[in-house]
């Protein structure tokens, strides 16, 4: 696409954003009930879909087909116009779609990709009570019985499980094999008998992640993704696929709304009449944060534009984003003072920065813990990025 076409596209997206983003969505989504949240997310997804903006990263034949340059423009504009985020559909349009496209059967793709466009919600059921960072230690079993698997075990921290229709499930099909070789990747209907979901209240007070108990759940053998016992490889290959563009979107949001709100908060006079911005230390810290966000945005733009990223590039971006988010929201909490502690709810459908500084600060651990903790990322960067010696194997 030529520069002129891209400029036209940007103008189209801008016009669309002005016409379609509800101006009051933050207020409406603050303190919204679960049902209101789900209804809003589903409606917003269809709105984006109507414009062709919901799954730009999918292949054209399935309803996507945007170039990386176009997607970059799209996410920049959505961020600049403070659009709601697709929180509920996230696993469906990224992890589930990537898995199906890379390793699924034609039947699985035809069954689920159109359904996702119609609003099918997915959850990722990987982590278990005793298998977090060491995911390959997972113990949920799937025993083959005729044309089906019978699944028993427990999953935990599954984001959005309470609303999910389908689950990406990792289960052990060969207990005798070495840890990583006996795992299979399955698609599980969340309405199957034997599936029980219990929400867990999280640090922010909301209950978006859940435990999933699995008691003799029957999954048809046709729902196996990739070869039997080869689920670890399937998961590894599809886990990071969404990282680049997602990080770009989050970085743009941090640079736009996030930083702007921070400066506005700093400019607001306090009860003594002075504003934090009058303090040179505050200005210095703001300038440092602006510089860091600018560096992050450049890193992300590079990551998505690079056809052959380095083996640790995504980890570098994830680590830097998550810790910068933490520093920024921490600073916001300090600037806003005790008053920020009276903000008891933050808007749903938002990113991780919403201007509710204390909740945003607490919520920033939603980025430093999941998807490989910061410690795990540093080890990946050291070993894969720098080629440092691996740790000795546990005995």
């Amino acid at each position: 696409m030529s520069a002129a076409d891209l400029a036209d596209f940007r103008a189209d997206v801008r016009a669309w954003c002005r016409a379609h983003i509800p101006s009051d969505w933050r207020a409406a989504q603050t303190g919204a009930t679960d049902a209101e949240f789900v209804a809003f997310q589903q409606a917003w997804f269809q709105e984006l879909r109507g414009a062709g903006y919901a799954v730009p990263h999918w292949p054209a034949e399935w309803g996507g087909g945007m170039s990386v340059a176009q997607q970059t423009v799209l996410y920049r504009e959505l961020a600049a116009h403070d659009a709601p985020r697709l929180v509920l559909a996230f696993v469906a349009i990224h992890h589930a779609a990537a898995t199906l496209l890379a390793a699924g059967t034609d039947a699985q793709r035809e069954r689920h990709l159109p359904a996702i466009l119609d609003g099918e919600i997915w959850v990722q059921g990987f982590s278990e009570p005793d298998a977090g960072s060491d995911l390959a230690a997972l113990r949920t079993t799937a025993r083959r019985q005729g044309d089906a698997y019978v699944v028993n075990g427990q999953k935990v921290w599954a984001s959005g499980a309470a609303h999910a229709d389908q689950c990406l499930l990792l289960a052990r099909t060969d207990p005798a094999a070495p840890k990583r070789r006996g795992i299979s990747y399955l698609l599980m209907d969340m309405r199957s008998p034997g599936v029980e979901v219990r929400p867990i209240r999280q640090a922010t007070g909301e209950s978006h992640f859940c435990e999933i108990f699995l008691d003799d759940v029957v999954i048809p053998a046709g729902n196996l993704v990739g070869p039997e016992h080869d689920g670890w490889r399937v998961a590894q290959e599809t886990l990071g696929t969404e990282r680049g563009m997602t990080m770009l979107e989050l970085a743009e949001r941090l640079g736009n709304g996030g930083f702007r709100w921070l400066v506005e908060a700093c400019a607001r006079p306090g009860r003594d009449g002075t504003a934090p911005l009058d303090d040179s230390r505050v200005r210095d810290r703001l300038a440092e944060l602006e510089t860091e966000v600018t560096g992050l945005r450049a890193l992300c733009a590079d990551l998505v534009a690079n056809d052959a990223p380095g083996p640790a590039d995504a980890s570098i971006v994830k680590l830097y984003y998550s810790e910068l988010l933490q520093r920024m929201t921490d600073f916001g909490a300090q600037i806003a003072g005790p008053a920020a502690h009276t903000v008891l709810r933050k808007p749903l459908s938002s990113g991780w920065e919403s201007g509710a500084w204390v909740l945003d600060f607490v919520g920033s651990w939603e980025w430093t813990i999941p998807g490989g903790t910061s410690e795990i990322q540093r080890s990946i960067i050291g070993e894969r990025g720098l080629g440092l010696p691996r740790e000795p194997k546990a005995v």
């Binding site: 600049a80 640079g255 736009n256 930083f259 702007r260 400066v263 506005e264 700093c266 400019a267 911005l277 040179s280 200005r283 210095d284 703001l286 300038a287 440092e288 602006e290 510089t291 860091e292 966000v293 600018t294 560096g295 992050l296 945005r297 450049a298 890193l299 590079d302 640790a312 570098i316 680590l319 830097y320 410690e375 990322q377 540093r378 080890s379 960067i381 050291g382 070993e383 990025g385 720098l386 080629g387 440092l388 010696p389 691996r390 740790e391 000795p392």
Partner: protein, 365 residues
């Protein structure tokens, strides 16, 4: 970056690295060799025997100089003096000077004050003509100069560049010894030497000229620091991959590995900020990008060099290891031409307008 540029840069980088490796850490690369290589005239127009390239190419060389902690006046001449000359209105004086510089026949030094951001000199009109007054401290590579380019305000208060032979009566230079043994600095002071009219060179864009001189000096130092930080990261990774303690290579300890990972993240972020500032400097310039690159990359380089010393243990603290060379160099880079705090102050000057919704942040562009 277009692909052919990337290839060109990779080629240039390899040749520079090779030359600096051959030169070794204790000598400056031979000036005639530098002139013949064309690196002095990368930014000079082709009709003046230059390469007609941009600051992006000069930056590749600066980066390698930082990586090798190389000696000699190349950065001061190619980035600062020649950079200043290219900002001037074409004139026979300017053109001749560019040609002589590119050919290596003269070593002009820009008398920019490395300690404080100001226009260090004033031209006063006297009965006998123009006289120059003022002083600049921490002038990079001043002891190497045979010509001095002195930023001054003319009698009307307009910024100009005064071109004088280094040995001019009424112009004195004294060396300022520093801990960083890889570079030299001097103080230049003018006690009223007479300045011929044709030694007063005018800037093409007088309103932006002073800002651009300072920004270029800042970005050049950021390139130097980035190169040095990369060298320190590489050295540390190599050491941690071979040095053994407790029966393991120390790089397998998480405490060591994670510090190395943090070094890489710092270098990557700095690389992107410096890259943006270099691209801007190769065009119209961007004070915001320059301030971000200088404040961030130079501070990061000091942290990286410090971590390198720490992770090399007792060996790192020796003179022989050479880590102190980089630590001293980047610590000086950090303080020269505006500290990180000074550059952040400039960034922060935009925030009141931003809070009123009257300005865009850099990030929202």
């Amino acid at each position: 970056m277009p692909e052919e540029h990337a290839e060109l840069h990779a080629e240039l980088r390899a040749v520079v690295r090779d030359l600096l490796a051959k030169t070794g850490p204790d000598a400056a690369p031979d000036w005639r060799t530098l002139a013949r290589s064309g690196w002095l005239g990368l930014e000079a127009p082709e009709e003046l025997d230059g390469a007609g390239a941009s600051f992006a190419e000069t930056a590749v060389v600066l980066h390698e100089f930082g990586r090798a902690a190389a000696r000699g006046p190349y950065p001061a001449v190619a980035a600062l003096a020649l950079g200043a000359l290219t900002l001037l209105e074409p004139s026979p004086g300017r053109d001749g000077l560019i040609e002589a510089t590119v050919a290596g026949r003269t070593v002009p030094i820009l008398a920019l004050d490395g300690e404080a951001e100001h226009v260090p000199f004033r031209l006063l009109r006297t009965a006998t003509g123009l006289a120059l007054h003022g002083a600049a401290r921490f002038v990079q590579e001043a002891p190497a100069a045979d010509r001095l380019l002195l930023p001054a305000l003319d009698p009307a208060g307009t910024p100009v560049l005064v071109d004088l032979p280094a040995r001019t009566a009424g112009l004195t230079g004294s060396a300022i010894p520093v801990l960083d043994e890889t570079r030299t600095f001097g103080e230049i002071s003018a006690q009223g030497p007479t300045v011929p009219e044709d030694s007063v060179l005018r800037f093409a864009d007088e309103a932006k000229a002073v800002r651009r001189l300072h920004d270029r000096a800042a970005v050049a130092l950021a390139c130097d620091s980035l190169g040095s930080a990369e060298a320190m990261l590489d050295a540390t990774v190599a050491y941690a991959g071979t040095r053994e303690q407790f029966g393991r290579r120390i790089g397998s300890f998480q405490a060591v590995k994670h510090l190395c990972a943090d070094m890489l993240v710092k270098v990557e972020v700095a690389r992107h900020l410096v890259g943006a500032a270099v691209r801007a400097e190769a065009g119209e310039g961007d004070p915001v990008a320059a301030a971000m690159a200088k404040s961030h990359a130079c501070a990061a380089a000091v942290e990286v060099a410090g971590t390198a010393m720490q992770l090399h243990g007792g060996m790192g603290y020796t003179w022989e290891s050479g880590i102190h060379v980089h630590l001293k160099r980047v610590t000086l880079d950090r303080e020269l031409c505006g500290s990180p705090a000074a550059h952040r102050r400039r960034l922060a000057d935009r925030y009141p307008a931003l809070a009123r919704g009257e300005a865009e942040t850099y990030t929202s562009r």
